[in-house]
Point group: C2
Chain length 121, copies 2
DNA sequence: GTAAAATCTGACATCAGTGTCAGGTTCAAG
DNA sequence: CTTGAACCTGACACTGATGTCAGATTTTAC
């Protein structure tokens, strides 16, 4: 599939898809004319990348993690080194805290929304 | 309490505290000499602000939400308008999606970490 | 073959919170 | 007093993913 379709199906801009490739996060075949041609699995991969970005990992770290995760089809093509595992454990902790923080914020917003509904009646 | 102590107790830099004040998110008394003097409740407030930032709200929106939330001591000093409620509901949806995304990423990292532990033995 | 749509590369802009530094003032302890 | 620590304002830099635009090329539809 070409870049336009991938962008549409993932909700990620073409700009970002090219950037991901430049950062070594995403690979593509090329047509004889030089246009990108993506495999079907690219869809899942792009979504994972987006999620990892949202989780606060930068592209360098994502590039190191990606080969270690189980792909849609097969098992992981690489095993994380001890150093990477340590770093990922830290990220994991951070993500956990982030989730707690988000849950708090969600509760706060709910409180404000409820108070407004309460006041209305 | 002065800015240094507040920074220490909240883990937020002095720079950020001054920025919050500039954005109308945080108020402070001033000593005769012009130095900031915070009330005890500022601690909780700063933490809330940080959480709302982490949840992706910008300072302008936070400034609108803050007066509508229940403070540590009393009830909310303002009730959210219909327009604000609509916006907050959207934010809430976004935060929910964000949480889901983070949970996914956490699971992915766990998978990588587990696979490494698995491989080691 | 032609025209429109899609894609290519490269460059520059943006966002918004935060880091950092400079030069000056205030505060608190001895 | 004096001195060092803490604080003040103002300004500039940065980060790094993403938006956007220009000009050229490829692809697709007719």
């Amino acid at each position: 599939m070409k870049i336009g379709e991938l962008a549409r199906r993932t909700g990620v801009s073409e700009r970002s898809l090219r950037y991901y490739e430049q950062q070594g996060l995403l690979v593509s075949e090329r047509t004889p004319g030089g246009q990108r041609d993506y495999a079907e699995r690219a869809v899942d991969r792009v979504i994972r990348i987006q999620e990892l970005f949202a989780a606060g990992l930068n592209s360098k770290k994502i590039a190191r993690v990606l080969p270690c995760m189980r792909d849609a089809d097969g098992g992981p093509s690489e095993i994380a080194t001890g150093k990477l595992v340590t770093e990922l454990a830290e990220e994991r902790t951070r993500i956990d805290q982030m989730i707690n923080s988000l849950v708090n914020s969600r509760d706060v917003l709910d409180g404000v929304i409820d108070a407004a509904a309460e006041a209305e009646r």
